[in-house]
Symmetry: C2
Subunit: 206 residues, 2 copies
């Protein structure tokens, strides 16, 4: 019997999602699972949960910017604070859903999963402003996609609607932030829930 | 040369502070340090940071209540959801500052540290409603304090002012939630920053 994939909701502008994207596939694989990624807009989940970005709050902002970088270092990852943060990530997210729909889903190893992983790396290691169409087109080409086709996708009502559906489904299932994970129905919010996820995968429910 | 204590800000109504209180003294001791506790009111830091309790937000509320209990189990601790939550914790906090001022500070081993640790345990393992004067008096007696003296303390403008000062100092130093720690100036927010704190204590800044 094959085990269900681990669901992983992320936003291309979420630093903790960048960090989580670096370890989730290996963690899943070591427990015989794949990862199924879901691109969402934190703006949508924040609105539903009446939250804002951690950098929108006094006091918490300064700590969060410090903790993003420190947490990346803790996980042995490069980190460059993006010059614009947070960025509107809907165009990159629409391309994700297009890839998922046309190239075999969004599980580990798929084109959508690679786009997600590399997109997060581009934002947080090279400061790529993926909200700028020219930058996103160049990044798409770098990733082996047809840049003009990608641009057509993110302007297409079909893929706008697909992303909206993903946001709605996330909210309906209780997702209010990112990274957010579900293992056999059990929710885990945050890069720092990795130890609990590891125990859950190893020993089952606790 | 003796190492500086680890500063630990908590609220008697904070479940993650209850969990952190179970491991912070041993972690500190294993690195030649003590812990210096600071009772604060999250209401004050939340106001300064424009935040609310995690259980005040839609979606996040349900997850948080689930995560409080799961995180306690993860750390091998008993956990009983308090019947009233969050509770106003100012009276217990004023007694803490009175003990700190009159019985030798709030470092590991002090009466104030014990009051803090046992108070959190009482709230989250026995559901004691420490905001009710009769309950708090009984708890004070159980802890070997003069219950009437404790009640006089929490009604005394001197100790009200001392708690307000603690809240103001916490906010001024960047504290916006609990548990919040500082190790040689480095801030760590949340029970889940334990792995980073452990590395910091072992290897120094990273």
């Amino acid at each position: 019997m094959s085990l269900a994939p681990i669901d992983f909701w992320f936003d291309f502008s979420s630093p903790y999602s960048y960090i989580a994207s670096s370890w989730i596939d290996a963690l899943a694989a070591s427990h015989g699972r794949t990862v199924r990624r879901h691109a969402i807009l934190l703006g949508a989940t924040f609105q539903a949960a009446e939250l804002k970005s951690p950098v929108s709050y006094p006091l918490k902002r300064e700590y969060s910017l410090h903790d993003f970088a420190r947490s990346a270092r803790f996980h042995g990852l490069p980190y460059t604070p993006p010059p614009v943060f947070p960025i509107p990530s809907q165009n990159a997210a629409r391309v994700f859903w297009w890839l998922a729909a046309t190239q075999g889903g969004s599980e580990t190893g798929s084109g959508a999963a690679r786009w997600a992983h590399e997109g997060l790396r581009a934002v947080f290691t090279r400061g790529l402003a993926l909200h700028e169409p020219a930058v996103l087109k160049a990044f798409a080409a770098e990733q082996g996609l047809d840049a003009d086709a990608a641009e057509t996708v993110w302007n297409d009502p079909v893929w706008k609607a697909r992303l909206k559906q993903a946001n709605d489904e996330a909210v309906a299932s209780g997702v209010f932030g990112a990274p957010f994970f579900r293992i056999d129905g059990e929710p885990f919010w945050g890069n720092d829930r990795r130890p609990q996820m590891e125990r859950w995968l190893t020993e089952g429910p606790f």
